[in-house]
């Protein structure tokens, strides 16, 4: 397919959309689906059909709208009114929604698009999530999808594309924050005929679901980003390494790849040029360490996903010892908009060193749990209290955990900090992939540290001793403290051992595993002391609180 042909399809699609006066978009991403939004969709479609409104009102399934706490969600266009908690089993409500297409929304279920949760967001990655049907490529083409790819292939040199990404200042969204453009130019310059592009969709961080939502809501955007990357670095083969725990994302990815191949947007001679790019999905099998790039590559090769020392970096020697470009889902999802609107445009958003926007999953003790996209540099307080809607009940904010098992807990005194790579690092945590777990004052920080150490201890692949033994020992110490048998010197040991593991572990998993412990000791030392000295857990989460202290005393 050529660019002209693509533009024609886009025009036709836009014309078709214009003809329809009303649209009811029902979210059929995994969150809303588990609340039976598929029945809402079917119910509304039936009503529209019975009334013979098909010509003027279109009911369609779309991706994630973000505010999962209020699901199942639907949006009535052109008024942009959201309906929340739409009950699938109450036909009178569904009928009322169709009755009120023109008039006032039903107050009981309506949600204004002007609430801070929606109004304060800036959407680039999620711009079409909740707008388009993820299982229909025409929908994506109708919002100018794949034009960036065909423009690149037709009019731009490979180096030109890399330069645009460098200009944008985009940094890896998987957690490390490595400049994406730099990585691309390394792979582009690497020697060798065969090169690969791999998308890391092994979203292992517990408490994070940004990538899942993007894949379920707008899979073509990721494919387009990958194809542009392949063109820029000179690769002709790509893999998406996706978690097997995300069956819906896998299904929609496979549909998307098939559709794109059929249209000549993937596969051989893309845009009728000599650029070929074939794409396959590879399933993960539940190993957290496979988020680490060398482990992921081993897993794509069909081996045990165990990391290896770097260098050589995958940019020089990755999959099958060939130069391999590895980026995360959200990174690839940023590519098409950057090429459409220019690197300068992207660089104008965000802070000096952290450009663009970031998608976060707001999870835990916060009213508006869900998915948001905000400019880098937003205040943490705004994230939690404005967009997040604050803490439920009469509870008090205690900490926010970012970066999953590699991150740390950020206490209240940092609420006015800007959220970007550097500030989070300075506060003892990391940006990570974007999970933000908000905890109220009922959380026990010793228990939280123990939870994460249990996770990394179990997920440590066992190749290097600092990680294998270190995480087990760290866990043992935390367990002892939580049982009320801790000693004062244990705190020192935890810190010293933490530093040792950090400095000597082979891969990122081990090097960051002590972060949850060190950050909680740093900011919540008195809680540890309470467990050690008074043998009590004020929050009642640890074993020591359940039995009288005297019986545990050795």
């Amino acid at each position: 397919m050529t660019l002209d042909e693509l533009e024609e399809i886009a025009e036709n699609e836009k014309e078709e959309q214009k003809k329809i006066k009303h649209r009811l978009n029902v979210s059929v991403a995994a969150g809303c689906l588990s609340l039976h939004s598929d029945q809402v969709l079917k119910g509304l479609q039936n009503i529209v059909q019975e009334r013979g409104l098909e010509g003027t009102c279109k009911v369609k399934g779309v991706g994630c709208m973000g505010l999962c706490a209020e699901g199942p969600l639907l949006r009535s266009e052109p008024q942009h009114t959201y309906y929340r908690k739409v009950p699938a089993n109450r036909p009178e409500v569904l009928n009322a929604i169709v009755d009120n297409l023109d008039g006032q929304p039903i107050p009981e279920f309506a949600l204004s698009p002007d609430i801070p949760f929606f109004a304060e967001q800036k959407k680039i990655v999620l711009e079409h999530c909740g707008e388009i049907d993820p299982e229909r490529i025409e929908d994506y083409i109708g919002v100018d999808g794949y034009q960036a790819l065909l423009h690149c292939v037709a009019d731009r040199s490979r180096d030109d594309v890399v330069q645009e990404i460098i200009k944008s200042g985009l940094r890896g969204r998987g957690g490390g924050g490595y400049p994406t453009g730099l990585k691309w130019s390394m792979v582009a310059k690497a020697p060798g005929e065969q090169k690969y592009v791999i998308c890391n969709a092994d979203e292992g961080d517990p408490g994070a679901f940004m990538d899942r939502s993007v894949l379920e809501s707008d899979p073509h955007r990721v494919l387009e980003g990958m194809a542009i990357a392949a063109y820029a670095v000179g690769a002709d083969k790509g893999y998406i390494y996706c978690r097997a725990e995300y069956p819906l994302a896998v299904k929609r990815l496979k549909i998307a790849i098939r559709q794109a191949e059929k249209m000549g947007l993937l596969g051989k001679r893309i845009g009728e040029s000599d650029f070929n790019f074939e794409l396959e999905v590879r399933l993960g099998a539940g190993a957290f360490v496979c988020g680490e790039e060398t482990a992921l590559i081993a897993s794509v090769e069909g081996k045990r996903g165990v990391p290896r020392p770097r260098p050589p970096f995958p940019a020089y020697s990755g999959l099958n010892h060939c130069a391999t470009l590895l980026n995360n889902v959200e990174t690839f999802a940023n590519i098409a908009p950057i090429l459409r609107k220019g690197g300068d445009w992207y660089a104008s958003i965000g802070t000096e060193k952290s450009k663009g926007t970031k998608v976060f999953a707001l999870v835990g003790d916060v009213n508006n749990t869900g998915l948001i996209e905000v400019p880098m540099g937003i205040k943490l307080r705004d994230l939690v209290f404005k967009l997040g809607g604050g803490i439920p009940g009469d509870r008090k904010f205690k900490a926010v955990q970012t970066g999953g098992p590699s991150g740390g807990c950020i206490p209240e005194q940092f609420l006015d900090m800007n959220v970007d790579y550097e500030s989070l690092m300075a506060a003892g945590s990391i940006m990570g992939s974007g999970g933000m777990i908000i905890m109220d004052d009922s959380a026990c920080m010793v228990d939280v540290a123990k939870f994460f150490m249990d996770f990394t201890r179990d997920e440590s692949c066992g190749k290097c001793i600092p990680c294998r033994v270190g995480t087990t020992q760290l866990y043992g110490l935390l367990e002892r403290i939580s049982e009320g048998q801790g000693r004062m010197e244990d705190l020192d040991t935890l810190e010293r051992l933490g530093v040792m593991v950090k400095r000597t572990a082979l891969c990122g998993l081990g090097q960051t595993a002590p972060n949850p412990v060190s950050s909680t000791i740093k900011y919540f030392r008195e809680e540890y002391l309470q467990h050690i000295n008074d043998k009590t857990c004020a929050q009642g989460k640890c074993a020591c609180s359940k039995s009288p202290a005297s019986t545990i005393e050795k």
Partner: protein, 169 residues
Amino acid sequence: MQAYPASVPLPSSDKRWKLVEATMRRHGHKASALIEVLHTVQESFGYLDGVSLRFVASSLRLPLSKVFGVATYYHFFSMKPPGEHTCVVCMGTGCYVKGAGNLMKTIEEETHVKAGETTQDGKVSVVAARCIGACSLAPAVVFDGEVVPKVQAGAVKEQIRRWMGHDAG
């Protein structure tokens, strides 16, 4: 050169082996397809066992030790047959903060088995998941493939009792 591998006979006339064979063919019987093939085996048979691992190893021309190594390395693969029903409790951070630990305790008390095990009568398997990505609807449990958001301990108890053949009341 001879077209290879010389085809390995299917372990039995069970039609599900054809699905496994099809996956291997799609990947040209390459060693790199191992994980994809194991996924197909588990999807078709519910678990991996000696027969299937041997078949996969000889078909892909891999040492059995390597196949066994991969099968046991990844959490997703199970070497034990699953129960009639499966109850997956998400133990991700979001769910944990919202009380998934207590849910798991309830389930373990109700079924008398620990996470990763199946009840003696083979009715219910209890699985702890790392994170199923339903964090905004925590705590989440998956009953036979269906995600149930914001679960209460009572509802879990009821479902388990129904599966185990007790009175739900």
